[in-house]
Symmetry: C2
Subunit: 77 residues, 2 copies
């Protein structure tokens, strides 16, 4: 299985989600990309249909947008 | 590690996310709960702070709300 990619932006919500993802999938199975520090990879993320962070790209290329403990109401603000 | 729980409602988006989660985490590590068919477990999900589906409860009890390929704009409708 090829690696998943986890895109985040360093926010506390992202970091907690990152830790959970690493625990669930295994550190060796996911590449962590901090888009705040690696802004040259934002266009790469966009090309993979990432619309928000944190987001996990699965080995099959699908995007799982993850909102850690965020309610839909929060997303509307 | 105790099991994760994946709550969904049977929508196509949920099913695709379910398949990805099973692939990533492993079928034996996650309990799948279809809230449309097991409505008696909705209050259980609410107690775990699930606000939307699909959602994954990690073994540590955190909620990962997953929006498979959904944009923030879609969530506002």
């Amino acid at each position: 299985m090829s690696k998943s990619i986890f895109y985040h932006a360093g926010c506390p919500v992202c970091i907690t989600a990152e830790e959970e993802i690493i625990t669930l999938i295994g550190e060796n199975n996911v590449e962590i990309v901090h888009l705040g520090e690696q802004s040259n990879r934002v266009s790469e993320a966009e090309n993979k249909q990432v619309k928000s962070v944190p987001a996990l790209i699965t080995p099959t290329g699908n995007v799982l947008h993850i909102n850690f403990g965020a309610s839909l109401e929060d997303l509307k603000n």
